[in-house]
Assembly symmetry: C2
Homo-oligomer: 287 residues x 2
């Protein structure tokens, strides 16, 4: 049984072997860049870990593992354009470093690269793996769309928020475990259990990510702290704070959300003050 650290090492090595030294360089350099600036390699590690529950030769599951990582980074690249984010993993985002057009097109190339990796799955598993992957990939788009829709709404419920992060984050983590299981020859029942476990892991992961966006350390988190607050993202923290505030704080929160003329740092500190008063961070940890 491999440790998570060993699996991450295998993935780093294999990721670096993907040939991106191709022309035109404007297309492939951004792909190499975003793949090289790190990340936890969570999804590919989960593919290999799930495979490793059933079989030892984890290198036989490396292609779908890499496909998941490349696809995930493609979604980050395009999300960063849509969210107008400047930083990703403490580095400039692709649309900032190059341009929006470069980010759109190299993202497109990256999503195709993911399928190129996936096409190496042995024929006996290919249809099932491809269909699971496609269904999930569409759900990820649906989740991102809901996330953007919620930015313009004030009445998002906790249930709607959970459904959004299920689509945006959890299903990709769940399908990573599922595909590892399929490739490892797991029973239908075990594959389903892996998927369900992944859904819950994904929800916990996203709640933690929301917490760190408001309360994390920029050096560790790698993104600007307070980004969600500035974008009026309807996270668990904001939704619960809106529900739990007294009428004075509710009015204050609503006016902070609507104002564009206030300095970033002031908006973040004032919203955090209300988060602290309503104690929503500890409610998140209980969730």
């Amino acid at each position: 049984m491999y440790s998570l650290k060993e699996l991450q090492q295998i993935i780093e090595t294999q990721l670096s072997k993907i040939n991106l030294n191709a022309e035109p360089k404007e297309l492939y350099e951004p792909v190499e860049y975003i793949l090289s600036i790190g990340g936890k390699r969570l999804r590919p590690s989960l593919v290999l870990a799930a495979y490793n529950l059933f079989k030892d030769d984890v290198e036989n599951a490396i292609f779908p593992a890499l496909a998941l990582e490349v696809f995930h980074n493609f979604t980050l690249l395009h999300d960063d354009i849509m969210d107008k984010a400047d930083l990703r993993r403490n580095q400039q985002t692709v649309h900032k470093k190059w341009s929006e057009n470069v980010a759109i097109l190299s993202g497109d190339a990256m999503s195709i690269k993911a399928y190129e990796l996936l096409a190496n799955v042995p024929a006996e598993f290919l249809t099932e793996v491809l269909q699971s992957f496609n269904k999930t990939a569409l759900q990820v788009c649906e989740g991102q769309q809901l996330d953007m829709n919620f930015e313009n709404r004030l009445d998002v419920s906790v249930d709607e928020y959970i459904e959004m992060i299920r689509l945006k984050t959890s299903v990709l983590i769940a399908v990573s475990l599922k595909i590892g299981g399929i490739m490892g020859g797991a029973s239908k029942n075990d594959v389903q259990k892996l998927y369900d476990f992944g859904l819950n892991l994904g929800l916990a992961f996203q709640l933690q990510d929301d917490y760190l966006d408001s309360y994390g350390d920029v050096k560790v988190f790698g993104k600007k702290i307070g980004g969600d607050i500035l974008a009026n993202k309807k996270t668990f923290l904001l939704i619960r704070a809106l529900e739990l505030s007294d009428s004075k704080n509710t009015d204050k929160l609503l006016s902070l959300i609507e104002r564009n003329d206030i300095k970033d740092e002031l908006k973040i500190s004032q919203v955090l003050e209300i988060y602290n008063e309503t104690n929503v961070a500890s409610l998140l940890k209980e969730k």
Copy 2:
């Protein structure tokens, strides 16, 4: 043997059956919109036509045919953002009608939809079809990147231009015929011949498209006439005009390319005047 018109009819019917009535509507409505505003359905017709050379039951090749059409429309959707185009098939482009973010994300969903259709290819052909499709899809991105790179260059040669349109346009037409052949059980040799024929057909098609962009009828062409001229696209017409003009006209062309302060209609008419003097339209027809 089906006529092209009959094949187009089959495709229209099957395209309209793709279920896009899903949530969130901001994601799926633009996909339905761009698929519904028409087009010649050239690529899927070629899949079925090539299949029909070997077998009669063309409905068995419908999924890869639809995948090619959906993928092609995805590339148009994203290209229109990058090219800042307002019109497509005489209708507003998606990023104009909705927003850039909607166009980015629904384009992404559309490319995944293409793979969802492709995943229905029988397992015996799936690996080969998927690999051909992926290779081609990446080449299409490379072609679009070259096309954008060329906008900022004045020294593009006819050979470079031909290589760009081979990637941007021809390979997708060629792979349509190839996939039809593979699905129809054609020999390796016949599949290669279909592909090579498609490459040449694609080049002719793109040269004709360039001609119509400058000399077409907007009602038939469905895009603004002169769009390539305004975007300083290095088409066959502009490259040859730069090569063949006398020094006075060369200077005039170069200054027209560099100027942003000139009215659109004036720029188009002055460039067309030089095209006419250098007779490049008839050179294109000879090509």
